[in-house]
C-alpha cells in the first residue's frame, strides 16, 4: 500500500513537469506582457523592468531560470503586485479558499447524500420529484446569479448576514451556500442513481430475505456501494472547490486565490499564473490519489500493491 502511494507520488512528478512546461509556454504565446499599459512606459523604464525580471533573456533561458527557482521552492516575485512574492500572495489567499471550499464540500456531501438517499428510497414519489427538481435547479442556475441574489436578499434586504467581505463565520455562510449548491445537486443525483441500483441488487435482496432491519439494509448494504461513484466524482470536484472560485470571491469580496488565476492571466502576471497552475495541479494529483485510496478502502475488490 505504502509502495503504491510512493509509486503514485513519483509518477506525479512527470505529470507536474508537463503541466508546468505547457502552462509556461502557453502563457508566453499570448500577446502582450506584464508591463503593457494603456499609456506606454518609457523605453528606458521598460528595459529596466524587463532586465530586473529577466524578461530580456531568450525564452528557453527564462524557462530554465524559472525551473531552477522552482526546484528551490521559489515561485518568484509577482510582476503586478510588486511588493509581494507569489508565495506571499498564495500563502495569504489559500487558507481562505480552502476554508470556503472545504465547508462547501462538506455541505455538498452531507446534504447531497441525504437528499439522494431520500429520493432513492421514495423513488417516483413527490419527494423524489422534488429532489430531482431542486437538483436540476442547482445545476442549471449559474453562481454569478445565485451569489448576488443571496447577497441581496440576506445581506441587503434582511440584513441577516454580511453581504460581502471576510471576517468571522457569518461571512462564510453565503459564499459556502453559493459554492455548495451545484455540488449538492450533483451529489444528490449521483447518490440517487447508484442507490436505486444498489437497492435492487441481489445482495440487498439477500439482506431483506434474512430479515435485517431497514437501517442496516440502507446504511450497511446499500450506501457503501452507492458512495463509490460519488467518491470518483469528488476527486476533481474537491480540487476545483478548494482552489477557489473567481466569481464567488469577486462578488462577495473575499481574499481567496481563485481571482488570482483570472486576474493574473489578464495582467500577464506570468509568475502568479504559474503559481496558481501549480497549486491546482498539485491538488488534482493529490485528490485523485485520495480517491483511489478511498476506493480501495470502500471496495475490497480493489487492491493496490
Amino acid at each position: 500500500m505504502l509502495r503504491y502511494v510512493l509509486r503514485r507520488l513519483l509518477g506525479a512528478i512527470p505529470t507536474l513537469f508537463l503541466v508546468i512546461t505547457f502552462a509556461f509556454f502557453l502563457m508566453r504565446v499570448a500577446p502582450g506582457g506584464p508591463f503593457d499599459r494603456e499609456r506606454a512606459l518609457e523605453a528606458k523604464v521598460l528595459e529596466n523592468l524587463n532586465r530586473v525580471f529577466h524578461l530580456d533573456r531568450p525564452l528557453w533561458e527564462q524557462y530554465f531560470y524559472y525551473l531552477g527557482n522552482l526546484a528551490r521552492g521559489d515561485l518568484g516575485p509577482s510582476f503586478i503586485y510588486r511588493d509581494f512574492s507569489v508565495q506571499q500572495l498564495l500563502g495569504n489567499g489559500l487558507p481562505v479558499s480552502i476554508q470556503l471550499g472545504g465547508m462547501a464540500l462538506l455541505v455538498a456531501l452531507l446534504v447531497g447524500s441525504l437528499l439522494g438517499c431520500i429520493a432513492a428510497l421514495r423513488q417516483n414519489s413527490w419527494i423524489d420529484y422534488g429532489v430531482t427538481a431542486v437538483a436540476t435547479f442547482g445545476i442549471t442556475v449559474p453562481n454569478f446569479v445565485v451569489a448576488p441574489v443571496l447577497s441581496l436578499i440576506f445581506g441587503v434586504w434582511l440584513s441577516m448576514l454580511p453581504a460581502g467581505g471576510w471576517g468571522g463565520p457569518s461571512s462564510m455562510i453565503l459564499p459556502v451556500i453559493t459554492l455548495a449548491l451545484p455540488q449538492v445537486a450533483i451529489v444528490a443525483r449521483l447518490i440517487r442513481g447508484s442507490m436505486i441500483e444498489a437497492l435492487r441488487s441481489d445482495h440487498v435482496r439477500t439482506a431483506r430475505a434474512y430479515g435485517l432491519p431497514m437501517r442496516m439494509i440502507v446504511g450497511v448494504h446499500s450506501l457503501r456501494a452507492a458512495c463509490l461513484p460519488v467518491v470518483s466524482y469528488l476527486g476533481p470536484a474537491a480540487a476545483a472547490l478548494l482552489t477557489g472560485s473567481v466569481v464567488v470571491e469577486t462578488i462577495f469580496g473575499l481574499p481567496g486565490i481563485g481571482r488570482y488565476f483570472v486576474q493574473g492571466a489578464l495582467n500577464r502576471d506570468y509568475t502568479l499564473v504559474m503559481g496558481t497552475v501549480i497549486i491546482i495541479a498539485v491538488f488534482v494529483v493529490i485528490f485523485n490519489l485520495i480517491v483511489d485510496l478511498l476506493y480501495a478502502a470502500l471496495d475490497p475488490r480493489v487492491r493496490y500493491d
Binding site: R205, Y210, L212, M216, R301
Partner: protein, 544 residues
Amino acid sequence: MTDTSETIFDIRDIRVTFATPDGAVEAVRGVDMNVKAGETVAVVGESGSGKSQIMMAAMGLLASNGRVEGSVTYRGQELIGMPREKLNRIRGAKVTMIFQEPMTSLDPLYTIERQISEPLRVHGGLSASAARARALELLKLVHIPDPERRLKSYPHELSGGQRQRVMIAMALANDPDLLIADEPTTALDVTIQAEILGLLAELQKKLGTSILFITHDLTIVEAFADRVYVMQHGNVVEEGKTEDIFQRPTRDYTKMLLAAEPEGSKPPVPDTAPILLDANDVSVTFSMPSGFLSPRFELKAVQNVTLSLREGQTIGIVGESGSGKSTLGRALLQLLPSEGRVVYQGTPIQGFDRAAMRPYRRNLQMVFQDPFGSLSPRMTVGDIITEGLLVHEPQMTRREREEAATQALREVGLEPAVRNRFPHEFSGGQRQRIAIARAVVLKPTVIVLDEPTSALDRSVQKQIIALLRDIQARYRLSYIFISHDLAVVKALSDYTIVMRTGRVVEEGPTGDVFRAPASEYTRDLMEAAFNLKKVLSRQASARA
C-alpha cells in the same frame, strides 16, 4: 417421513400480478402448496412458470410493481400482509432462503464473517464474539476448507461453490424450520452441483430442516426430493410423490418435461472426409502487462490443444467453467491472439489481423451463449441477419438481401414476417434461432457454437438441437460445439474433447468417451451429470 407430520408452510390460492406498461401480467394464478416438517419438496417448471415468484411473494421480496393475493402461513401465522418488523422476525430466522446467483447474492464489500454474523446478531441477539464463534462452527458444518481464514475473506475471493456453501451456512445460522432454495445449483458446474446437493441432503438429515427446492432440472428433483409440484404458466399442473411423478406422470406437460432430455446421437464422418479446420498446438495466454514497478502476470487459458475438424463433423468440447473451452473456440476463429498453427482449407490463418481474416469470416461463423446479449437491441431482425451480407456480398441488391434473410428465417423455423421486429420481442429460443439464421445466411462451412443451448429450457433446447442437426445435414456444415452440458454434447457431436484448466483431458469418438471414459475426471463429470442419484447416495453412505 410419515404423512402425519405437521404442515409448517402452507400456501393457499396464491396469485401474483405485476403491473407493467403493457398492463397487468399474471405470474402466478392461484397455487396451493404445502411443506411438512422434515420434508424435501421440489417445485419444478420452465422459465416463466412463476415458481420463483411464489417464494418471493411469500417472503415479502416481490419487486415494487408486484402484487400478491392469497394466503401463506408459517406454523399458522399469516405472512401475506404481515407488518415488516414482524415478518423480519421470521425471515432469516425460521424461514431462510438461498438463491441462484452465488456470485451476487453476497455483499461484495463485507467479509464472510460479517455476513454470516448479521442474521445471528439481529435474530439471536448474539454478541460479536459469540456470533464469530457460531460463524466458524457453521463454516465447518458446510465443509469449507480452512474456515478460520475464510471468515476474513471477501466473497470475490471464494469460488462459486464456496459462496453457495457460505449462503447455506447463513441460511442455517438460526436453526430454521424451512430452507427455500431457489435454483441454488443452476449457476454451478455439475460436479460442484453434486457436492452442494450432497451437503444439503446431509444437513437436512442432521438438522431436520424442511427444504423447498425450486428448480428447472428434473435430474435434481429425482435424486433429491420427496414430493414434487410441476408448474406451468403460473399454475400447478401436477403434484405427487417423486417416484409416482417420474414413473406415472399423468399430464402431457410433465411427460414432455420428462422426455425433454436431448436424445439421439450423430454417426461419425468417414475418414475420407476432407479436413476443413486443422489446429495444432494452440495455446492462449492472457497476461497483465508489467506496470511501473509491478511484475508481469500470466494466465495460460489454453495449453497445446490440437484438433482436426472434418467436413460434416461435430466436435464437442466439454468442460467446466474455467476449462478454457470458450477461449479455444475464439482462438480458432482468430478472435483473440494465440500461439500454434491453425489451418483453414490449406491456408494457415493464425495471426491474421482483422482485414486478412475478413474473407474467411463468412466461412467461419460463431453463435454465442447469451441470446439476449448477442443481438443488437436497436436493429431489426432483418438488419441483424443481413448485416453480414453487406460486408461479404457487397454486390447484392437490397431485394436480394431481403430474400436471403427470408430464406434464412425459414431455415431456422421462423416466419419471414418477423424481419421487421426487434430482438426484445422474442423468447430466448427464438433469439437463438435468429442468431443461427445470422450465421447460416452467409452459407458458412464451419460454425463454432459456444454454449448455444445453455440459457434455454430443456424443451426449447431440444428444438434447437433438432434445428442444428437439420441444418448440418442440409448444408454439410461442420460444428465445433462448446458446452458444459454433457447431455447436449452426447446428442449432437460425433467426436468429443474433454478439457480441464486449459488442457485436453480426454478425447475420442463420442460413443467411446461416453461409454467408457478413460480418465477419472471425465468419469466424475459423467456421473454427476447422468447419475446424480447414485452420486448422492454414495455420498450419503460414505458419511454413514
